[in-house]
């Protein structure tokens, strides 16, 4: 018990660090999850775009165009009229498309647009607008009055819009739930919290003098290691539970709340990966600053390569292949799996493989740490 | 007064409710080695920090070299050397670089500095360790480096704040000898320590501080003379009785007599030939006695008598 208590107490030193990462999780996790939830796994599914329109013309024609976009797309506030800011908003996905209707449009029929360079959705949007404007212009040129031209165009576009395609595979419509976003992001923050706090706490136990003092205390080897192990486990469980609880409490109405058990299971498995990495790092160094640095290097790089910040589909195939050798990949895969499957079909070989792979990596890190500690002791480094 | 290198008048320093230095006054004459003694928490280090203008104080007046000491009194600072209680060296610089860096804060001329640094290393016996990083030095060497950094610029006034903590006897001897040498060469020294024998051996004058006050001041023998107990006599007595104690107490200058195990312990408050008087009483009364030991008071006794025996922080 004394080792257990001392370890838990020494955690107090790192509360600021833990607090910072928890804050990052709470703020940035929520932000990114909000941005990504509702969007789709496949990225391409949602074809109703966020379009910002700036109408300098305010003519019947321009208003008809705005009206058309309003009925077919999702109109958003451009928030600016400056070209560069419009462009940046489009490039960084604040909205997908910006259309500027210049003064004199009714006669010149010239429009200017902004879209992420060469993007497919942008191309499509341009085609739609082009076709709408073209219809009206053709009608006008053919002698129709403007009101009639607009009415005809609206009617036939609405008519044409009824055309639909036959889709062979309907299962590909996975909405990304908010929980999925939060738990994916937690792959980064939870690992960081565990690595830094547990890594640092463990070094004090490995500190030569402290260790000698405990060794001569007469407490048995088994007892003190059980104490250390239990305390580290408790720290891990506390941090993991806190992150899960936060996610639940702040999003009680989430569509995936019934899957929370599976998300939690996956997160607790990740906790062991964190503990393994922490042990590994603490076997390399005892310096707090270097522990923090190594944790950042390992976890942050891994988070980028394994799909925490950038979805796996966007990554290069080779990288995805390599990331199979990183534990966080399996965690993210498991999270996506939970997102995509119904409760009944959860316990499959796939899902269990994802969990097992994480545990294997946890064990690898732990054993690597053990070997390094032993070697260091042998050569008294 | 004209010769006072350091003069502290009525210094008061509070930490909130806690009075760390309480109307403390101190004068250090040119060429003195002044020992500043006091239990932990008595205000020694606080006084030194105030003296160096590192700490703000609530009241009092501090003059060094006859001028008021202020944070920006650069001319005064340039003539002071400090050896801190804790080792204050830069971990990533080696021994030579450390001494050179700190010396360079005082001495601008390159050639002079080089000479001073070499001398300081020679002085502290670190010449063979120039390229060593502080981490690689033993406790004693590290303390010596700490000293070298403080004195390389040949200051007129040097403050040593417990410089020999955790130092082996050989190194300690070397350090003390070095301090004496510096003093002979003209430096005035203020030396604080817990080691009474060190202070007794080294210092020409001693000030004892307690609870922030100056509680005793004088040379080693002056302080000892100020004690009530001037001689302790211990005699082994096989037959012990209260009559003997009564009789002993009636001897001139004996103010206390009591049994401790097989011995009788007699304390005298001065006078000469106390032992002769006691022994003649014993033989005259045919009281058999064994081993006889007589002890003169030490500075340690003075210290404990003045500051009390209860434990400090």
């Amino acid at each position: 018990m004394p080792v257990f208590k001392a370890t838990i107490r020494s955690l107090k030193t790192y509360y600021i660090t833990i607090l910072v990462y928890f804050l990052v999780f709470a703020v940035f996790g929520t932000m990114t999850s909000r941005m990504n939830s509702g969007s789709t796994d496949s990225l391409y599914e949602d074809v109703v775009l966020d379009v910002a329109v700036i109408d300098h013309d305010h003519s019947t024609f321009s208003e008809a165009l705005v009206n058309y976009l309003d009925t077919t797309q999702h109109l958003v506030d451009a928030n600016t009229t400056k070209p560069r800011e419009l462009n940046d908003n489009v490039r960084f996905d604040i909205y997908d498309y910006a259309l500027v209707i210049p003064e004199g449009f009714e006669t010149s029929h010239e429009l200017e647009y902004y879209t992420s360079s060469n993007s497919a959705s942008g191309y499509l949007m341009t085609e739609k607008i082009q076709s709408y404007v073209q219809d009206i212009v053709v009608y006008l040129n053919s002698g129709y009055p403007i009101e009639e031209a607009i009415a005809l165009t609206d009617e036939q576009i609405a008519d044409v819009d009824n055309t639909s395609a036959t889709i062979l595979d309907e299962t590909g419509t996975h909405q990304r739930s908010f929980f999925t976003g939060m738990f994916t992001f937690n792959g980064y923050t939870l690992l960081m919290m565990i690595c830094i706090s547990v890594g640092s706490v463990m070094t004090y136990m490995k500190e030569k003098d402290v260790n000698n003092r405990i060794t001569v205390s007469g407490m048995s080897f088994v007892k003190r290691n059980i104490g250390l192990f239990l305390s580290v486990l408790v720290i891990g469980i506390l941090l993991t539970s806190a992150s899960i609880l936060f996610t639940i409490v702040t999003n009680l109405g989430d569509s995936a709340i019934h899957k929370i058990g599976y998300f939690s299971l996956n997160t607790f498995v990740l906790m062991f990966v964190g503990l393994g990495i922490a042990y590994f790092i603490s076997s390399i160094t005892k310096n707090d600053s270097i522990i923090s640095m190594l944790s950042n290097m390992i976890v942050l790089s891994m988070a980028f390569l394994c799909g925490v910040f950038i979805q796996t589909e966007l990554l290069d195939d080779t990288i995805v292949a390599i990331s199979h050798f990183l534990p966080l990949y399996w965690y993210v895969q498991a999270t996506n799996y939970i997102n995509a499957h119904a409760l009944g079909e959860m316990f499959s070989t796939d899902f269990l493989t994802y969990l097992a792979m994480q545990l294997v990596f946890a064990a690898i890190f732990f054993v690597a740490g053990l070997i390094i500690s032993r070697k260091k002791e042998q050569y008294a480094i | 007064m004209s010769n006072a290198i350091v003069s502290i008048e009525n210094l008061v320093k509070r930490y909130g409710e806690n009075l760390a230095v309480d109307h403390f006054s101190l004068h250090v004459e040119d060429g003195e080695i002044l020992g500043l003694l006091g239990p932990n928490g008595s205000g020694k280090t606080t006084t030194i920090n105030c003296l160096l203008s590192l700490l703000q104080y609530d009241k009092g007046d501090i003059q060094i070299f006859g001028k008021p000491m202020r944070p920006d009194a650069y001319d005064i600072k340039s003539k002071i050397g400090v050896v801190m209680q804790n080792v204050a060296v830069i971990e990533t610089l080696n021994v030579y670089e450390n001494v050179d860096f700190f010396c360079g804060l005082y001495i601008r001329d390159k050639a002079t500095r080089k000479q001073y640094v070499e001398e300081a290393l020679e002085f502290t016996g670190l010449s063979d360790y120039k390229k060593y990083k502080p981490k690689k030095l033993s406790g004693g060497l590290l303390r010596r480096l700490n000293i070298a950094c403080g004195i390389a610029h040949k200051p007129k006034l040097v403050l040593f704040d417990e410089p020999t903590v955790a130092v082996d006897p050989q190194s300690r001897n070397a350090i003390l000898e070095g301090i004496r040498k510096m003093n002979r060469e003209g430096a005035t020294i203020i030396y604080t320590s817990h080691y009474m024998e060190e202070v007794e051996e080294l210092c020409s004058r001693i000030v004892i501080m307690d609870h922030g006050k100056n509680v005793a001041n004088g040379t080693s023998s002056e302080l000892k003379n100020s004690l009530k107990n001037r001689e302790t006599i211990r005699i082994t007595l096989p037959n012990q009785s209260d009559d003997i104690l009564r009789a002993l107490k009636e001897i001139n200058h004996v103010y206390e007599a009591r049994f401790e195990n097989d011995d009788v312990v007699i304390r005298c408050d001065g006078g000469e030939h106390n032992l002769v008087h006691i022994l003649s009483y014993l033989s005259d009364s045919h009281i058999p006695f064994g081993r006889v030991i007589t002890e003169q008071p030490t500075l340690n006794d003075v210290f404990l008598e003045i500051t009390g025996k209860e434990l400090r922080d």
């Binding site: 660090t17 074809v47 040129n141 055309t163 595979d169 290097m297 966007l314 | 600072k77 360079g104």
Partner: protein, 387 residues
Amino acid sequence: MFGRIFLYKLKELIRMKWIIGWNFLFPIVLATAFALGFGNLIDDDPIDFHTIPVGYVSELSAGDADASEPSAFLQVLEELSDDTDDTTVLQLYTYASEAEAKDALSTDEISGYYLEDDEDIHTTVPSNGITSTTMLQIVKEYKNYKETLENIAVDHPEAMADALDTLTSDTSFLSQHDFGNDTSPYLQYFYALLAMASLYGSWISTAMLTGMCANMSECGKRFECAPGRKLVAITAGTLAGLCIQALANAVTVLYIQYVLRIDLSAPIGYIILITTLGSAVGISVGNLFGSILKNPILLTVVPLSFAMLCSMCSGLMVATIRQAIEYYAPFFNRINPGAVMTDALYHIGYYGTTRTFYIDLMIMGIIIILNLVISGVLLRRRNYASI
């Protein structure tokens, strides 16, 4: 005095292993992770338009039209698959039967197929997505043209020829605003990384100040006992810190540009100018922290957390965050040194030396001056209430 302190501080700091690790190694490791992760996206963004391979099956009854003459819709498809245009939309395969087209679809030879019969044009795709939407759009436009011409034929037959001309001409009513330079949005990650690395300069400063202030360390006490102006010494130390951080940044920039071969898309001189200014921001922020904080744990945790939070807000983990903040709370982007620096790099990379670019540089300058002035005032004092 100044020169000596500068040189010694340079020596002292550069020998701190953790500074080498955090400030030199970490950005390089992270940049490598970025390059591995989405280096490919910089050259080839998956949201970019790709030509769609489509199938066409005709089930028109022979009597409806001349069999040898392709249907109007097929002509449109052929037009779209003509690769003389800037953008080739389609790559067309014709199949004799729907079964053949389905086979081709199952082997991913095509992304979908059209089946034209007498009544309608049917579009079949494997799943929902941009491909299906594009394919459908083609059908919609075709039907739209057809309807327009039919309407005109009824109401204004005399204008029929002109209308046909307009519809088939390549007149485009829309033009994309052209900024000349087309950099990948993924470069944003590298810009934010450089901002993060610059802010890491803040703990070089706190380490430097720790050795110079009596209330922070024993060395500080020794330092403050010495004669000589403290601010001069701190300036020398700050400059030493700046040199180290600027060097670290320059190494990272060169590493990204020449080793990872990721074009930062601006003249290297400009980039190094910005990262040097950014280093000064980091160093000056560290001075401010050092002048306020005393607790040794806070002296590393606060700069680290600050650097992390600022760089996250400037898009280190999720590239779009900076723009989202720009949209909802632009003021925050003006005062976040990480975002200002990222913005400067982004502007020079994408738009060149614009007004915003100079404003960013100016804001960085103001942040540096403010930090230095405040910390200077706080650090000037040389005696303390407690040490």
